[in-house]
Amino acid sequence: AQTVTQSQPEMSVQEAETVTLSCTYDTSESDYYLFWYKQPPSRQMILVIRQEAYKQQNATENRFSVNFQKAAKSFSLKISDSQLGDAAMYFCAYRSAWVIGANSKLTFGKGITLSVRP
């Protein structure tokens, strides 16, 4: 079974600064997807970024980028130019790629609470 570990329960960043959120995972599969989701107090889980394991290049979405280290099974999220609206819980999630013709469940970490100081 796959596991996702987020060992930092909380982090804080100054507005306009950069912060990195850590995530490690364990799997015996060679092909899979990794995700970062944001969950504000409204509870809505919002997809931030996704990475396909077979791609060497790190994914980037505007101010959000990942550092994907497949051999180390590490998948960290970097938020640049932090904004007050970035304050939320962030979840790292894993999904197997080996599902024929159907989607597959997500396995989540425990999450990290990010606060942004004005």
Binding site: Y33, R43, M45, L47, A102, N103, G111
Partner: protein, 112 residues
């Protein structure tokens, strides 16, 4: 609709009662998932539908929980004889592509 919707937003019930939680997925999405999120934890998988059938119900904790999706669109999660330990946020997600799930705002269930 523009996104996944869930009703009710909040549900308070008494121990032993029956509850139904509803999920309305994004139009055209064939895959639908239910997750449960306890306080301070990440969401945990409950059940996955592909069309009308439950393709994977391995996450349902016991036989008090079951879900249906009779017409391949709206889904209802049903919990019988609720217990205090069932208190959590129940999240629904739908997916139409290969790998991305879109979540609803969840239903917060409180069992007194």
């Amino acid at each position: 609709g523009a996104g996944v919707s869930q009703t009710p937003s909040n549900k308070v019930t008494e121990k032993g009662k029956y509850v139904e939680l509803r999920c309305d997925p994004i139009s055209g999405h064939t895959a639908l998932y239910w997750y449960r999120q306890s306080l301070g934890q990440g969401p945990e998988f409950l059940i996955y539908f592909q069309g009308t059938g439950a393709a994977d119900d391995s996450g349902l904790p016991n036989d008090r929980f079951f879900a249906v999706r009779p017409e391949g669109s709206v889904s209802t999660l049903k919990i019988q004889r609720t217990e205090r330990g069932d208190s959590a946020v129940y999240l629904c997600a739908s997916g139409g592509g290969a790998d991305t799930q879109y979540f609803g705002p969840g239903t917060r269930l409180t069992v007194l």
